[in-house]
């Protein structure tokens, strides 16, 4: 008996406990993705005898004798399925990891199901788009356009990878067959804090197929951090590849490498590990007490502010006279706001493959936002010259900050160097929860004072950030979290005290917003209350107090910095959101029935367009002998859409069309250094380098053509595929026939500008169930020149959707023994189609003096004001101030009870 896959009979026999997903991937059907491996996300959707199923749940033995169709088999006779065409036309994707499953599902929907997409798409999760783009695709709306040569910027140019994504051909990290591949599985600590006394590996090594066991005895003695930054010292060096002291439940303690995953898993089970358990602490405030167990008191560790108090980093700043400011105030509001732990939940889990190439170099293919930083860290860890390490990324299935860490690359590298064979590690979805990183839970005490006319007289912030067992990103998140949220307000008196604290919990790391989402929640809620006390409209309260060009951008000290108003659109954003929230005011009848309490709310956010202290990118633009252009940039594409933007910028500079620019990206062998795609830098730093390279290439081409033709450069015009001078025309291929013409461009990330976001909501809160329904969502953004409106809108919608998840649904729970209780996507509810309202996205009209073609960043900013805007709307509806997240129905109910009918 055989299985028919996409019309082809396959003789392979599934293993007894194998699911269909892995069986299909073994048959090279790499379009079948693993998002959750548990039936929740739908990324692995295929058809069995024509019926859609989640292949991760389908027992593979049951497909024998049946017909299976994957995304690779959906197109018919060379013609894309209409649903594939629709996803291309609407660009119904960002990272594209969920897309194959989305298309396979959508292609089967009946007219009745199309009437109820929230039900029909229950089994398909997307973390990037916020679902509007997906709905447009399912409904056949077209957004993509093909502008004339030289006019790519500002238009809805399609993502270069679109066709690959809708056909399942686009390759993500693990979508490749490696000859002789070995599989690595990690054994993880069952204790929150313990010292490893011994590890007996003999039984594990005796398992047939096991090739290697790695423990603390094999780890390099170099202390590092998993966090990756332009400056290594930004993160404390507090971690070994395998630590002998484990500091959270789920920390890796050993790796087993084997011919099969089965053998590697069996090997992990057979390790005999003796621990001496140590006292553990889970609460950040308790961890600062003198009696608390210490996590990192070893003298050899560096970069830790107060190791004897578990304080990784602290920030203290004072400008003006805060006490006098509060005395002077006519109204003061203070409260404590808490923001919970969140998981990024990018659909592609952390994964990498390491191998040794012919030149005996270490090569790592990984799911990372920062391939160049990963290379540098690996080189440091293993004592190798950087040029002996190559790191590359295929397309990355989502990041949100989570992939600004070294979580898998180090251990596969060690194994590959020891064995000389390719080694793969792929996190399970459970490992994403227990062994990756999270948002920093924060407790923020905020105090604001103002005069009766609304003028702020004092702002005070006390922040306690729980960074978990290791300090990756602890200082950066704390400093950044205390910065733009305060700097956006003009106030003479400001004080900040903040602590980032070690606890025996899974480490927190970089997460979209980088600390600001937590502090913005606190400050913007407090600002709302302060405005209420003074009977001032919340929009007006901001207008009276926000910074304007000419004001100093000051957070909590007056140290010199390189942030300036490259452009300013906050005033426009406030007006746009205010107006959008005011018109169309009547809620439909059902919401006015008396069962629902209605309210509206808003909040603002400011974000520096680039992280501080250097962010570098180098790009090369080349005219190739085939007459096409190549653009080499180091930035990885993980759904942020920078690939499209880079191509658009180059095409604009070179007066050509986007499809004449081939992008070569995210490979340390193939471009100049690139700090990486974090801090919302894909457009403003790497894009700027790409644009400069293309502009330089344009000059070289025109110069070469002028020389050939014997005319003045001024007489030459660059067209889409040639240089013209009068009646004469040289095709570009001819110019490069003796070798490509190459130019480079660089960007150093300084000076920096500011971008703005304003979110407004109208909500209904059910008096009996406590459920919140979003009746209206408006988001005004100042992104400078919008290089690709379709994509930028998608980034904003996706950011708002992710933030709605954080504000209403998501909570990452750790019990009193340090055990993570939320380990699946059905236990950790990220927004599904049904959970996300359509958000009206409005752009301010500005052009930035610093960004490429006037563009600013727009990746993290949209996330930051959402939770506060929702909480403010709920406050307006219910009269109750909710100070902790998420605003789940049962928690709303607990606070409002059955509110009396208004």
């Amino acid at each position: 008996m055989s299985v028919t896959i996409n019309g082809r009979a396959v003789e392979a026999v599934p293993r007894p406990g194998q699911c269909l997903r892995t069986f299909l991937r073994e048959q090279q059907c790499f379009g079948v993705k693993k998002g959750c491996d548990a039936g929740d996300c739908g990324a692995c959707t295929v058809y069995v005898d024509g019926r859609p199923v989640h292949s991760c749940l389908y027992p593979a033995v049951r497909v024998v004798g049946r017909e299976v169709t994957t995304i690779e088999g959906l197109a018919c006779g060379g013609e894309l399925h209409p649903m594939q065409q629709q996803f291309l036309a609407a660009q119904g994707f960002q990272c594209g990891f969920c897309t194959a499953g989305m298309i396979m599902t959508a292609a089967t929907l009946t007219p009745a199901q199309l009437e109820d997409l929230p039900a029909a798409l229950k089994g398909n999760l997307c973390r990037c788009t916020g679902y509007r783009a997906i709905e447009d695709a399912v409904r056949g709306v077209r957004h993509v356009e093909v502008p004339p040569p030289g006019e790519a910027a500002g238009r809805n140019v399609a993502a270069p990878a679109g066709l690959g994504i809708v056909t399942g051909a686009e390759r993500f990290t693990l979508d490749a067959a490696f000859e002789g591949l070995l599989h690595l599985k990690l054994a993880r600590s069952p204790h929150a804090h313990a010292r490893i006394l011994s590890i007996d590996t003999s039984d594990a090594l005796a398992v047939p197929g096991v090739r290697l066991v790695l423990t603390f005895e094999d780890a390099p003695k170099t202390l590092v951090s998993t966090g990756l930054h332009e400056l290594d010292d930004d993160d404390p060096a507090d971690l070994l590849l395998f630590d002998r002291v484990v500091r959270f439940r789920g920390q890796r303690v050993a790796a087993v490498v084997a011919e099969t995953e089965t053998a590697a898993e069996e090997g992990c089970l057979r390790l005999r590990i003796d621990y001496e358990t140590l006292p553990a602490v889970f609460d950040a405030e308790a961890a600062m007490e003198p009696s608390a167990p210490l996590l990192h008191a070893e003298p050899e560790k560096s970069g830790i502010a107060q190791p004897r108090r578990n304080i990784v980093a602290e920030v203290h700043g004072d400008i003006g006279d805060v006490d006098a400011g509060f005395t002077e105030a006519d109204a003061v509001y203070e409260n404590v706001f808490t923001s919970q732990r969140l998981q990024h939940s990018h659909l592609e889990t952390h994964a990498s493959v390491a191998w040794i190439d012919e030149e005996q170099r270490l090569c790592v293919r990984t799911s990372s936002q920062v391939p160049f930083l990963a290379r540098r860290r690996l080189a440091k860890l293993f004592g190798l010259p950087p040029d002996r390490v190559r790191v590359l990324c295929a397309r990355v299935g989502g990041g949100f900050g989570g992939k600004q860490e070294l979580l898998t690359e180090d251990v596969v590298s060690l194994a590959a160097m020891r064995l000389g064979r390719p080694v793969k590690l792929e996190f399970t979805r459970e490992e994403q929860f227990i062994g990756a990183t999270t948002r920093h839970p924060m407790r923020v005490h905020v105090r604001l004072g103002a005069k009766t006319d609304g003028t702020l007289t004092a702002m005070q912030l006390q922040v306690i950030s729980n960074t978990g067992a290791y300090g990756n990103h602890a200082p950066g998140v704390l400093f950044h979290g205390c910065n733009e949220c305060i700097a956006v307000y003009r106030c003479a008196n400001k004080r900040v005290d903040g602590f980032a604290v070690y606890t025996n919990t899974v480490p927190a790391g970089a997460f979209r917003g980088y600390g600001l989402s937590q502090t913005v929640f606190a400050i913007e809620c407090a600002m709302d209350e302060l405005a209420r006390k003074l009977a001032i409209d919340p929009f007006e309260m901001r207008r009276r107090n926000v910074v304007k060009p000419g004001d100093a951008l000051v957070a909590y000290n007056t140290h010199p910095h390189d942030v300036e108003f490259g452009s300013y659109g906050l005033d426009q954003c406030l007006s746009l959101a205010d107006e959008a929230l005011s018109h169309g005011d009547d809620a439909p009848g059902a919401w006015n029935s008396g069962e629902w309490l209605l309210g509206k709310g808003m909040a603002i956010g400011m974000l520096d367009t680039i992280p501080p202290r250097g962010h570098f990118a180098h790009a090369e633009a080349r005219l190739m002998p085939d007459g096409l252009y190549e653009l080499a940039v180091g930035t990885a594409e993980f759904g942020n859409g920078t690939s499209t933007v880079h191509v658009q910028l180059a095409a604009t500079a070179l007066s050509t069309s986007a499809n004449r620019v081939r992008l070569i990206q995210s490979d340390t062998d193939k471009s100049g250094y690139d700090t990486g795609a974090f801090g919302s830098t894909g457009t403003v730093v790497a894009g700027k380098a790409a644009y400069k390279a293309a502009i330089a290439l344009r000059s070289l081409i025109l110069g070469a053509a002028a020389k050939r033709l014997g005319v003045d450069v001024a007489a030459c015009t660059l067209t889409a595929d040639a240089v013209a001078a009068g009646d004469v025309r040289i095709p570009l291929g001819e110019l490069a026939c003796e070798g490509s013409i190459t130019a480079s461009g660089a960007s150093d990330g300084s000076p920096r500008s500011v971008a703005f976001n304003v979110q407004g909501f109208k909500v209904a809160v059910h008096r009996i169930t406590g459920a919140i329904r979003i009746l209206r969502s408006v988001h005004a953004a100042d992104a400078g020149t919008v290089i690709n409106p379709m994509q930028c809108r998608g980034q904003i919608e996706g950011g708002v959707a992710q933030a709605i998840g954080a504000a209403l649904y998501e909570h990452f729970d750790i019990n009193e023994a340090g055990y993570v209780t939320t380990r699946t996507l059905r236990g950790y509810h990220i927004p599904a189609f049904a959970d996300v309202p359509r958000t009206e996205v409005l752009f301010a009209e500005t052009s930035d003096a610093l960004g490429p073609l006037g563009a600013k960043s727009m990746s993290e900013g949209p996330f930051n004001p959402v939770a506060a805007a929702l909480a403010n709307a709920v406050r307006d509806a219910t009269g109750q101030r909710f100070t902790s997240l998420p605003l789940a129905a049962d928690r709303i109910f607990a606070q409002i009870g059955s509110a009396p009918a208004p």
């Binding site: 406990g17 699911c19 989640h54 027992p59 599902t105 029909a120 229950k122 898993e265 399970t428 129905a889």
Partner: protein, 275 residues
């Protein structure tokens, strides 16, 4: 996900499979739960589809649903027009957290045997006063009221080697008047509270609480209860500790909604305007 510890699948089981059921064995229904979580210790799957049971049959007394009947098959089955209460089948299928793609794989019996408080097939079978038929390793069969099949979170009456053969739904309840209420913390999320009410021509009224409680609670009244009587009966039948506590809803919230929605069901069955 792959369950790499499994070394054997029994694809043609027989009655003898019950008697030989041992450590490391697991019944394979649709696989939608089994393959969704790590399953340490499972070495052998016994594929219930191999029994080739007829998925669904109507008899004089109602509907006989095999444990292996896929949820999609139950939903697609054409019901007699007189079965006004059959709408509960659609409502309960829709209440499943999983998508319609899960309906293509998940079995009705598997949903009961999984014994999650929010299992909507448990709600359906219990709410309609159904009966479960259980096969025993000794080769006999016995029945248990569906409302008693699930005894707690992830617990059923099944003893080692026993299996759920079928669920019988009575025609009387299917043709009577019914009411349904479900609330979740998220718009199409897992049920936090799911209540079903049935009203027989005799006036006999049953209110069945699921999802909210760790096991189904079925309250039967000779006639439509009065407001206070219903509330008192719920408070008497459901101890505070019986309200389920997990990420899908706080117990106090579940209790509040159980009482509120039971009243709404009472009013609807009485033909009055209800929430």
């Amino acid at each position: 996900m792959d369950i790499n510890t499994i070394t054997e699948v029994v694809s043609r089981p027989s009655h003898a499979s019950l008697a030989s059921f041992g450590d490391g064995d697991a019944w394979l229904g649709g696989g939608t739960w089994l393959f969704s979580e790590p399953q340490p210790g499972i070495r052998r799957l016994i594929d219930l589809d191999g029994f080739n049971w007829t998925p669904i049959e109507q008899d004089a007394h109602g509907l006989v649903i095999s444990a292996t009947c896929k949820i999609a098959e139950l939903k697609a089955w054409t019901r007699p027009a007189s079965w006004s209460g059959g709408v509960l089948i659609d409502q309960c299928c829709d209440a499943l957290l999983g998508s319609f793609k899960i309906w293509n794989m998940a079995s009705v019996g598997g949903n009961l045997c999984l014994a999650l408080p929010a299992g909507p097939m448990t709600s359906l079978a219990a709410g309609l006063g159904g009966t479960c038929t259980i096969w025993t390793p000794e080769g006999s069969a016995h029945t248990v009221p569906a409302a008693q099949f699930v005894t707690g979170v992830r617990k059923t009456v099944l003893m080692r080697g026993e299996l759920l053969r079928s669920i019988h739904l009575p025609a009387l309840a299917l043709s009577g008047r019914t009411a349904f209420r479900q609330v979740s913390l998220t718009p199409r999320g897992r049920s936090g509270v799911l209540l079903i009410g049935t009203l027989a021509p005799s006036g006999e009224t049953a209110i069945t609480v699921t999802a909210s409680t760790v096991r189904p609670i079925r309250l039967v009244f000779g006639a439509l209860p009065r407001h206070d009587d219903l509330r008192d009966a719920i408070e008497a039948a459901i101890a505070p500790g019986d309200y389920h506590d997990d990420i899908h809803g706080h117990p106090a919230w579940r209790r509040h909604l159980t009482i509120t929605l039971a009243e709404a069901i009472r009013l609807e069955l009485a033909g009055e305007a209800a929430l």
